[in-house]
Symmetry: none
Subunit: 232 residues, 2 copies
């Protein structure tokens, strides 16, 4: 089975993401076709079936707009960049809105490793925070830290980092970065170095060396806005 996403399928996913974000409910087949530039509903249906086989989406047959997204899977290909579309729910009880943040998977803080694939949403993969904790409620997602490269920044192995999706960063920001070619996401401090970008671990130990790559090979997934730790 083809494991790669065609550009058309990517567009479909992107549209479902943005549409769901705008409207709080999924698009219809025809709405998808119209946006992506597909004249036939059957083609949309065809690709949707493919996407379901690849577990990017879940379909409820015979149901209008019976479509839902698999965020962990989307994150694997860098599309999960704005996971706040997940029914993030807010309330004003006691004066503070709450934000539901999906924990999308593992992120390497040591040697870069791939985001852990998951076919299902882990029941514990959610963190709910009061709005005041994170400031804005938009574009938040979370990752579980693997490795000790950020220990010097008081981010430990096993911590959950909450990030706000953004494509850029300022020097000194702690970011999750996707490195082209390596196909891996890593948690580092962000610095510009001429035309390059230096991804700097906080841990001064020699085995944790900075990664320096041309700017066009580094894709910022988000900036760390919060850290959650659990003692067992």
């Amino acid at each position: 089975m083809a494991n790669t996403l065609s550009s058309r399928q990517q567009n479909i996913l992107k549209f479902i993401i943005s549409f769901s974000e705008r409207n709080k409910f999924p698009p219809s087949i025809r709405e998808i076709g119209e946006q992506v530039g597909i004249s036939s509903t059957s083609v949309v249906n065809y690709n949707l079936t493919k996407l379901e086989e690849m577990e990017y989406v879940t379909r409820h047959r015979e149901v209008s707009r019976g479509l839902s997204l698999n965020w962990p899977k989307l994150a694997e290909v860098g599309l999960g960049a704005s996971p706040n579309l997940e029914p993030v729910q807010r309330s004003t009880v006691f004066g503070g809105n709450r934000v539901r943040v999906p924990v999308l998977g593992l992120i390497a803080a040591g040697q870069p490793i791939m985001v852990e694939p998951r076919s299902q949403v882990d029941p514990e993969s959610w963190v709910d925070l009061a709005e005041g904790i994170t400031g804005s409620t938009d574009n938040l997602f979370a990752l579980r830290v693997k490795g000790n490269s950020m220990i010097d920044a008081s981010v430990l192995d096993g911590d959950i980092v909450i990030l706000r999706h953004q494509e850029t960063a300022d020097d000194g920001d702690m970011v999750a970065a996707w490195i082209e070619g390596d196909e891996e996401t890593t948690l580092k401090y962000f610095f510009r170095q001429g035309k390059d970008i230096r991804l700097q671990p906080a841990n001064p130990a020699p085995e944790y060396k900075p990664i320096i790559k041309p700017a066009n090979m580094v894709r910022i997934n988000g900036k760390v806005v919060s850290v959650v730790r659990v003692y067992h």
Copy 2:
């Protein structure tokens, strides 16, 4: 206009909430009617219009399942928000119940923190966590850390620590302890030392010295189960 929700309207709202969380998309009019016990679609439509007038929901006419919820408004009537005592039913796909934890104040700021789970304290804010993160949901509260005495344990000034209320502790636990005479609560590692108790800061710097007191002068307020940090 009647500003109150009929029990039927409440049931409708509850169903929309649970359905949406279960399926990631809103229910259809007929599905609502079937669940709530309304045989006619027009009645559902009628009440949905009412609910829209009262701004509990937003409708997209002519669109299947074109329904979205107004969470802030729902929270006003206790729907959609799930305080500890009244958890909303959740599917496993969507995560476990949520726990609302009150942030009672500062720790190590000189003011003793009285932990009375039943008292009507006025918390400065709330932190919501997924149930799975903290294990049990009982007797949880939170404090904002002041000072750097635990920096070596990767707990920084400004972090929010979440504690479970308990009177005792095991060696090595991180606890919030109230010291008789000093009239203040501090965050330290807990150790027994004969008839004394040693409260050990994690920071090795000389200005942070362990506190050793007779056991009857130390009152454990709770054990740290989680740490939340926010970057600004």
